[in-house]
C-alpha cells in the first residue's frame, strides 16, 4: 500500500481527504500544544545555554591568551631593555677603562705642565728698577751750576757722557732682559695649548659619559614602566612588535629572493655531482642537494651570528665559555668559507654546462655558432655571486630572530582576535536559537489558530456566563 493510498481517507476525493487530514492534524497539534511549546522552548534554551557556555569558555581562553601575550610582550621588552642597558654599561665601562684609567697619568702630565708654566712664569718676572741712590747722584750732579771752571765743566761733561753711557747700557740691559722674559713667556704658549687640549679631552670624555648616563636613565625609565606593567609600556611594545614583524618579514622576503637566486645558481651543476636522474619524492636529487647546501649555509650563518652574540636564538651557544665560543666562530666561518668556495666552483661549472648544452642545441638546429660578447663577464659574475651569497645569507639570522620574537606577539594578538570572533559567533548563535524557538512557538500557534480561536471564544463565553450567574446570585 502506497503512502498516497494510506492518506486517502475518502477514496476518489483527495480534497475531502486532505481536509479531513488537515482537521485531524490541527486537532492533534492543538492537543499537543503545551508539550510542543515546552519542547521548542527547551530546545532553544538548551542551544542558548550551550552556546553561552561555549562563548564564555572561548572568552576565558581568549583572556588567558591575552594575559599570556602580555607576559610574553613584557618579558621580551624587559629582556630587550636589559640588553640595551647592559650594552650602555659596557660602553661606559669601555670609556672609563680607556680614558679614566689613564687619569693618574693625565694628572701627572697636567701637574708637570703646570710646574713648567710656573717656572717659566717665575723666570719671566720683571727685574727690580735701578737703585734710587744712583738716580739721586745723577740728579745731584745735574743740579751743579756751571761756574765757568773748565775743569769742573770737563768733569761734568765726563760725568754726563759716562752717565749717558751707563744709561744706554742700562737701557740695553733692560731691553735684553725684557726680550729674555718675552722669550720665556713665548715658551709657555705650547704648554698652555697642551694644557687646554688635555682639559678639552677630559671635558669631552666627561660629556660623553654624561650622555651615556642620560641614555641609561631613559632606558631605566622604560624598564621601570615595564616592571610596573603600565599600559603605555604595553602599547609601545605592541606597536614596536608589529613594526618589527613587518620590517623583518620584508627583509626575510628579500633574503628568500637571494636564496632562490642561489638555488638556481647551483641546482644545475649539482646534477653533475649527484646525477640528474635521481629523485627524492617528486623532486630531483640535484635540486634537493642544492636546497640542502643553501639551508646548511643559513644554519652556519645562524651559528656564526649566535657565536658572535649578535643574535640570541640558541641560549646554549650564547652561554658557552669564551674559548669554546671563539672555536665555534672559527669552525662555522671555515665551513661557510668552504661552502662559498664550493658554490663559486659550481657557478663556474654551471656556466660550462650551459655553454656546452647551448653548443649542442645549436648543432642540432644547424644554426651558426654565435659567440657571446665578453663571455667571461657572466662567468665571473656568477662565481662572485656564488661566493658572496652564502655570506650574505648569514645575516638572515638577524631579521629571523626579530621575526620569531615579533611573531609571538603578533600571532598571539591574531589568535586572540580570532577567539573573540568565535566567542561572538557562539553568542550570536545562542541568541538566534533562543529567539528562533520563540518564533517557532508563535508559528505553531498561527498554524492551529482555528481551535485556539474557538477555545478563546468558548472561554470568553464561559467567563461571561460565570459573571452573569455571579451577578444574578448577588
Amino acid at each position: 500500500m502506497s503512502t498516497a493510498e494510506l492518506l486517502s481517507v475518502v477514496p476518489d476525493s483527495p480534497v475531502l481527504s486532505g481536509l479531513i487530514l488537515f482537521v485531524i492534524a490541527l486537532l492533534l497539534l492543538y492537543l499537543a500544544r503545551a508539550p510542543s511549546h515546552r519542547a521548542i522552548r527547551s530546545l532553544g534554551a538548551v542551544l542558548h545555554s550551550a552556546m553561552r557556555i561555549a562563548s564564555r569558555s572561548v572568552l576565558r581562553t581568549e583572556q588567558y591568551l591575552v594575559e599570556r601575550n602580555r607576559e610574553v610582550l613584557l618579558a621580551a621588552g624587559r629582556e630587550a631593555v636589559e640588553r640595551s642597558i647592559e650594552r650602555e654599561f659596557q660602553r661606559v665601562d669601555a670609556v672609563v677603562k680607556r680614558d679614566l684609567s689613564a687619569y693618574p697619568a693625565l694628572q701627572l702630565k697636567l701637574s708637570e705642565q703646570i710646574t713648567l708654566i710656573d717656572e717659566d712664569y717665575r723666570e719671566s718676572t720683571e727685574l727690580p728698577p735701578p737703585p734710587p741712590a744712583w738716580v739721586g747722584a745723577v740728579e745731584a750732579v745735574a743740579n751743579i751750576q756751571p761756574q765757568g771752571d773748565g775743569t769742573v765743566a770737563d768733569i761734568l761733561m765726563e760725568i754726563q757722557e759716562s752717565t749717558e753711557k751707563q744709561y744706554k747700557k742700562a737701557m740695553n740691559d733692560y731691553r735684553d732682559s725684557m726680550g729674555a722674559r718675552h722669550a720665556l713667556l713665548k715658551r709657555m704658549m705650547p704648554h698652555w695649548r697642551k694644557l687646554a687640549e688635555t682639559l678639552y679631552k677630559v671635558g669631552k670624555n666627561i660629556t660623553g659619559l654624561q650622555e651615556r648616563a642620560k641614555v641609561i636613565d631613559r632606558r631605566m625609565d622604560e624598564y621601570e614602566q615595564i616592571r610596573a606593567r603600565s599600559v603605555r609600556a604595553q602599547q609601545t611594545l605592541t606597536s614596536s612588535s608589529m613594526t618589527q614583524f613587518v620590517i623583518s618579514g620584508f627583509v626575510l622576503l628579500i633574503a628568500f629572493g637571494g636564496a632562490v637566486i642561489n638555488f638556481n645558481l647551483i641546482a644545475l651543476p649539482m646534477s653533475e655531482m649527484v646525477g640528474g636522474a635521481s629523485y627524492i619524492g617528486k623532486y630531483p636529487m640535484a635540486s634537493v642537494a642544492a636546497m640542502v647546501i643553501i639551508l646548511l649555509e643559513v644554519s652556519m650563518g645562524l651559528y656564526l651570528m649566535e657565536s658572535i652574540r649578535i643574535t640570541n636564538l640558541f641560549p646554549i651557544i650564547g652561554s658557552m665559555d669564551d674559548r669554546m665560543r671563539k672555536k665555534m666562530i672559527w669552525i662555522t666561518f671555515a665551513i661557510l668559507l668552504v661552502l662559498a668556495c664550493v658554490e663559486s666552483s659550481l657557478a663556474f661549472m654551471r656556466e660550462q654546462i650551459a655553454a656546452d648544452t647551448e653548443a649542442l642545441r645549436q648543432s642540432l638546429t644547424s644554426s651558426e655558432t654565435i659567440q657571446p660578447v665578453n663571455s667571461w663577464i657572466p662567468t665571473v659574475g656568477q662565481m662572485v655571486m656564488g661566493f658572496i651569497l652564502p655570506f650574505a645569507l648569514t645575516f638572515v639570522a638577524i631579521p629571523l630572530e626579530s621575526f620569531v620574537n615579533a611573531s609571538r606577539t603578533v600571532g598571539g594578538v591574531v589568535a586572540a582576535m580570532v577567539l573573540r570572533w568565535i566567542a561572538f559567533m557562539f553568542r550570536l548563535l545562542g541568541n538566534t536559537a533562543k529567539y528562533a524557538s520563540e518564533f517557532l512557538v508563535d508559528v505553531y500557534d498561527v498554524l492551529i489558530f482555528p481551535p485556539l480561536w474557538i477555545e478563546k471564544y468558548a472561554f470568553h463565553r464561559a467567563s461571561e456566563e460565570q459573571v452573569h450567574s455571579q451577578e444574578g446570585g448577588i
Binding site: 646534477s271 640528474g276 636522474a277 629523485y279 627524492i280 619524492g281 617528486k282 656546452d356 648543432s363
Partner: protein, 218 residues
Amino acid sequence: MKKYLVILTILGACLFFVSCSDMSSHSRGVYLLMDTSGTYKSELKKACGIVYYLLGTLKPGDSLGVARIDTGSFSEKDIIAKKTFDNRPSVSNQQKRLFKERVDKFVGSVKGSPYTDISGGILQAVEYLNETGAGKKYILIFSDLKEDLRKGYIRNFDIEMPGVHVVALNVTKLRSDNVDPREYLNRLEYWQKRVQDGGATWRVVNDLERLDTILVDG
C-alpha cells in the same frame, strides 16, 4: 640514555629519507620508428628533425632508441642508435653528439626497403622500452602506417604494451587515400584499435611544427 636517543634520531632520519626516496622511475624512454619503405624514404629528413628535437629535449637519465622499419623490423639489426643518457649533463651532451652523428650517417646512406613491417618494429620498441625501465614510455611511429608484410610473416596478434604512449607522426596520405579518404581513416582507426587493445594510448601528430606536443602523456 642520551646515546640511545642519538641512535634513535639517526635511525629515524634514515627511515625518513628511505621512505621519502621515490622508487618509481622518473626517466623517459623514447623509441622512434622510421619508415624506410620506398614510398616514405623521402620523408626521412623530417625524421632527422624529430631526432634532433628529442636529443635537445631529453634529459640525463632518459633513453632514446631510433630504429628503421623495413621488411622484418623485429630485429636488433634494425636499431640505428640507442642510448640511455648518462646522469651527468656533460657526459650526456657528449653522448647526444655521438648519437646525432650515427643518425646522420644512417640517413645519408639509407636504402629503401620493399616491405613495411610496422608491427615488428613496435614489438622491438616495446622490448627495448621495457628493458630501459623508464617511468614513461613513448613509441613514435614516423610512417604512413601502411603495413606491407612479406609473405609468411605473421603479425596478426595482439601486442601487449600497457602504459606505453604511442604517437603516430607525419602520417602522410597516399595517392589511393586521395581517391578514397576512407582508406586513410580506416588505417588510422585500425592502428588506434590495435594500440589501445594492447593497453597503450594513441595519438596522431601530423603537424611537425608542434613537436613539443609529442612527449605529453595520453
